[in-house]
């Protein structure tokens, strides 16, 4: 059994038109940038993408939006992408906006075999329309369902040949839950190391959740808002 894939085209093999794909990342931080570029190359269409954000116009998921490869986005915040807003307001793009915590928890639930759970988030808003409401401890909650995907594509800092993953700083974000929720989970990593190189006490995503792993060719890691202070 070998999870390591040498060529990115093999890693993404099987992703077809009309499928649902989860992609890790928050803004441009921790996104599987090599895989996104490969999806552009593959030209796969009518994708439903579950991702907290939609990239910027010329990077990240924005690249797929530009080429109209995405039919539907399931996200929590899309404010950084003008092309997204244009396609959504014109009705070209279906959009399901979800509270960020509910999005994270729904992915985790999908991976954890929990079909539905109650959360207070979104009660009394558009998000609650058509959803069951129930009061717990005097507070209304809505029933949210699990999310899963045909493929989950995540980006990690280090990964080993067993598929164990380690993330760096806030590049972790949605990646661990999405890794759990993919029928097939693909991990692109900055460093690919032999099994036994990572401390088993500090694995963020155990290999059981990862079916394919490869070392990304190039990590541009673009910064969205470069904020700095001057040295004293």
């Amino acid at each position: 059994m070998n999870k390591v894939v040498d060529h990115i085209s093999d890693a993404l093999n099987g992703i077809e038109d009309g499928m649902t794909i989860m992609l890790g990342g928050f803004g441009l931080c921790g996104i599987p940038e090599n895989s996104i570029k490969e999806l552009v190359k593959m030209g796969t269409k009518n994708l439903t993408c579950i991702s907290n954000n939609a990239g910027v116009d010329d990077y990240g998921l924005g690249l797929l939006l530009q080429r109209k490869q995405i039919k539907k986005m399931i996200s929590s915040y899309v404010g950084e992408n003008e092309e997204f807003e244009r396609q959504m307001l014109s009705g070209e793009l279906e959009v399901d906006l979800i509270p960020q915590g509910s999005l994270a928890e729904r992915c985790r639930a999908g991976g954890a075999g929990i079909p539905a759970f109650f959360t207070p988030a979104g009660y009394g808003t558009e998000v609650a329309e058509g959803k069951e409401v129930r009061v717990f401890n005097g507070k209304p909650h809505i029933l949210e369902s699990a999310l899963t995907a045909d493929f989950a594509i995540v980006k990690a800092w280090k990964g080993d040949t067993e598929g164990n993953l380690v993330f760096k700083a806030t590049a972790m974000n949605f990646n661990p839950m999405m890794a759990m929720a993919g029928k097939i989970t693909i991990a692109e990593v900055e460093e690919l190391v032999p099994a036994g190189s990572l401390d088993p006490n500090f694995i963020h995503t155990p290999g059981i959740f990862v079916q394919r792993i490869f070392k990304g060719a190039v990590f541009e890691k673009r910064i969205e808002q470069r904020t700095v202070r001057k040295r004293a």
Binding site: F26, G27, L28, C29, G30, N52, S75, S76, Y77, V78, G79, E80, E85, M88, L89, V95, L97, P99, Q100, G101, S102, L103, A104, E105, C107, R108, T119, P120, A121, G122, Y123, G124, T125, E126, V127, W157, F167, K168, A169, T170, A171, M172, N173, F174, N175, P176, M177, H204, K221, R222, I223, E224, Q225, R226, T227, V228, R229, K230, R231
Partner: protein, 218 residues
């Protein structure tokens, strides 16, 4: 004189208590971190997965993997921790965060808040705001009293799609500190030099004005 953004941030910073974990939204709320009283330890949580945020990095030391919820490059203080988004919202939903400060387009006298969508015009998404307002026990809204057209954003009822209902406890604007309870805004403090009359004129929602309204001390 009406407060500037820094003034609003300074006034909100007075609400902090030692040992609190605090989530600051994008915009004015972010500035609150700069005015924590010196003798106090307050930890800042950002919903993208970090506790213990520090100042912006020195030039050249930015790390693309280390950002806040506003996608800005940041640093962390000793004792910080990183975690995934599910754990981050477990902290928020589970009420482990003692204070949430966020911006708003509209707030109603019942504590309803709208800040994520203008139908047909602007849809950025709610991000973590709906989770934050539905969960937090202690929510302060930092906002301007009026919009650019001069219309009050402190309303009897929100006109925009809601982010949350009955959740806002306190509003700090360039003019005043308002407490929300029993279906009304209660005027607690006014900005230095701002008259009660001006606040009344610019507040569309039901406003309860006590006999004496102290000036803020910043």
């Amino acid at each position: 004189m009406a407060l500037d953004k820094i003034g609003i941030a300074k006034r909100i910073a007075q609400e902090l208590q030692d040992g609190w974990y605090v989530n600051l939204g994008i915009g004015i709320p972010t500035l609150v971190a700069n005015y924590v009283p010196e003798e106090m330890t307050v930890e800042f949580q950002s919903e993208n997965g970090v506790l213990g945020m520090g100042p912006f990095p020195f030039e050249g030391e930015e790390d693309a993997d280390l950002i806040n919820a506003g996608k800005q490059t940041i640093t962390v203080n000793p004792g910080a921790s990183f975690f995934d988004s599910a754990t981050s919202f477990a902290m928020i939903r589970g009420q482990h965060v003692q204070l949430t400060v966020l911006g708003a387009m509209e707030v109603s006298q019942y504590g309803d808040i709208a800040n994520w969508k203008i139908p047909g015009k602007m849809v950025k998404g709610m991000g973590g705001a709906m989770d934050l307002v539905a969960s937090a026990e202690n929510i302060i809204v930092a906002m301007m009293h009026s919009n650019k057209a001069g219309e009050s954003k402190i309303l009897p009822a929100c006109t925009l799609p809601l982010t949350g209902v009955g959740c806002v406890k306190k509003v700090v604007t360039e003019l005043a500190v308002l407490e929300i309870k029993n279906g009304a805004f209660h005027l607690i403090e006014r900005a230095p030099g701002v008259t009660v009359e001006e606040i009344i004129a610019k507040t569309a929602g039901k406003l309860i004005v006590p006999e004496f309204v102290p000036e803020m001390v910043l």
